[in-house]
Symmetry: C2
Subunit: 449 residues, 2 copies
Amino acid sequence: MQLILLSGGSGKRLWPLSNNARSKQFLPLLEKDDGTMESMVQRVVRQIREADLTRDITIATNASQLDIILNQLGESVSVVTEPERRDTFPAIALAASYLKLRKGCSDDEVVVIMPCDPFTESGYFDCIGKMAECVRNNVADLVLMGITPTYPSEKYGYVVPEQGEKPQGISMKVSKFTEKPSVDKAKELLQMNALWNGGVFAFRLGYIMNIVRRYIDSESFEQTRSRYSEFPKISFDYEVAEKAESVTVVPYTGQWKDLGTWNTLTDELHKPVIGNAVMGPHCVNTHVINELQHPIYVDGMEDTVVAASPDGIIICRKKYAEEIKQAVDSLTPRPMYEEKRWGTYRVIDESTYKDGNHSLTKSITIKAGCSTSYQLHRHRSEVWTFVQGEGKVVLGTEVTRVKAGDTMVAPVGVKHSVLADTDLTLIEVQCGHPLSEEDVERYEWSWNE
Amino acid sequence: MQLILLSGGSGKRLWPLSNNARSKQFLPLLEKDDGTMESMVQRVVRQIREADLTRDITIATNASQLDIILNQLGESVSVVTEPERRDTFPAIALAASYLKLRKGCSDDEVVVIMPCDPFTESGYFDCIGKMAECVRNNVADLVLMGITPTYPSEKYGYVVPEQGEKPQGISMKVSKFTEKPSVDKAKELLQMNALWNGGVFAFRLGYIMNIVRRYIDSESFEQTRSRYSEFPKISFDYEVAEKAESVTVVPYTGQWKDLGTWNTLTDELHKPVIGNAVMGPHCVNTHVINELQHPIYVDGMEDTVVAASPDGIIICRKKYAEEIKQAVDSLTPRPMYEEKRWGTYRVIDESTYKDGNHSLTKSITIKAGCSTSYQLHRHRSEVWTFVQGEGKVVLGTEVTRVKAGDTMVAPVGVKHSVLADTDLTLIEVQCGHPLSEEDVERYEWSWNE
């Protein structure tokens, strides 16, 4: 069985912890049994493995998330990146092409598609196991998960089983789909035993490849990826599920939550305070998450979330916190914290001076054995002061060993890369204009020569 | 007329904007008519000059406030620093000794003592003018200001005029003093036309020097200062006012506020937002002061103060904000922002690493024409990247010109100083252990040789 995890999202609702580089599924806010923290995507991968569903996990995502996925999950998963944002059908088509054309899976292989961000319990993964079983037993071409509704929601898509159909064994035939109905219509649907569409699908690889080949009939994954824009911008539900002739649904009853807003996310936090903060005695249902060094003191707050990161600080009644979406773009012009495949950086100062000069100062940590790309900048110089660890720097083609206490300068236009022998931290001061992440040209360099 | 401004205070109640180095009277939060901001001490000095009382202002303060006073007021005032914190009588005795022994004022000179932090209007300074007039006319040895009470407060000292005495001309004879009475006692005092003791005193210099000489009879200010610990730890009220045989009080009726808590201070702010912050539509009586670069988004708050500085962030219902006093010491181990006589610094990162190393990164701005002291550190090296302006660096005895884009290293144990030709900003990375403001040895250096 092959499992494809869909990872998308822009992360505006959980500002300032999430941003374009760190969507909600990457926030390390969930406490494990051993007291350490994990992100939603780390949690779902752990749950898949604990349920013993499969070790073959492929994450279908946008290129902007590749670094943070590698940082959080390492090499334990495959990652397929879409060259541009289209919709769920193209993303799944590309991942299926990867399984077929790159990984060489057979047409009979069972594939399960699931989102990476629902907050669920082990029964959810048992249900996925049953869905795969239905595909293996040829119960239907397409098997999907139906979440037992708890109220007549307008937010979800509904899966309506054939009338009179009751769960026989583990699945029901699907009669039709209804997307985001009115409350009245939703009430009717609940009368008809309709279920919420959980976005989890199981099928054989050959089934989806027949549909993929209608748009791109290619012999190589690279070619499919290069022709990605030929896929229609359409969701998997519309392109595949609603057109399928043989569809069944496996019901799931249990915890199933979207922790996509401060309101729902703080419900699942084990502690009211994460990070450097002190809560006074007059707080009620208040949560503080502080990723900054500055201590936070909170008192007299009710139903409030406080979250602070290098991107900014939100202080908000939870019921109003969704409105942050509208304000985000004006608040944060650039990400101030990013997880890269080689480690992390954090902007600690960004200033424009009266004489027109600009500076940007970062704390950068490179993981042992990793290196930054070999790059140059057209508009800025960089001064590095090493404050932790040991490693090597290449400037031009000259390699120098560095350790904590050392200083190096990368002038404008000079190619450079830093390799960490142990975990290596440096304070980088950038001078120039403009000081943007886009001012970078990357080249090939081999540290082994 | 000589005016002595008393400047004390530890600044815990207005954390995180105030700290041991920046008491409440130095916060630049009051808006002038021209829209620029000033601190309480800048305001009171401006008001004294606008009232044309005197140009001879001496600030009596602790050594820890010398730099910020010079930064905010420049050379326009004299500053007398007590070698240790004692009480108001020793502080005033030292300042009076400065006027007599250093400045050479005559015994007949009228001296007015006043606190530097009451928030008042011009009538207050007119009252001070009348007090000086009373001293000049020999109405009494000691003249003090009595604030017309607005309620029977337990917090203040009361000045009780002689019974049957009504304001004749501008002053009343004083019968007795009562310190912090119960509410019932305070109500009785109000019946007796008692006034609050405003801590403003006027007398002839010779009068106070006769008392000073009982403890230290010295011919030089330096000697008096070196024997400072011989003065008793006692307030001016107990040592002088309550023992005086001839005391009158001049009443003042008008604005007289202590902006020493978030509750009273925010009442006087003209704008709900100072700094980089966005307030959502659901806020009521809420104030945000942001001295950090990180943007702040606030919504759904009521009667709340949000204040953020490099020292930390407070988010608090105003009515609970005084309780911050108890928490401050554990929140802020060291000041993260200071105004020095030569400019300002701001700590932008302070980190301890897994390998045991430490680093502290500052943004430092030196004002044109100023220089840091010629100093060395026993436990740290400093790397400077200049990001604004032009100046000179001395390392050992070698002088180098520097400008934005340059880098210099001051190794452990090497004497150094930086001189700003124009406003000069540098990012300083400190490596070593411990990284404290106390690790400094200062030496003499002349930039003119």
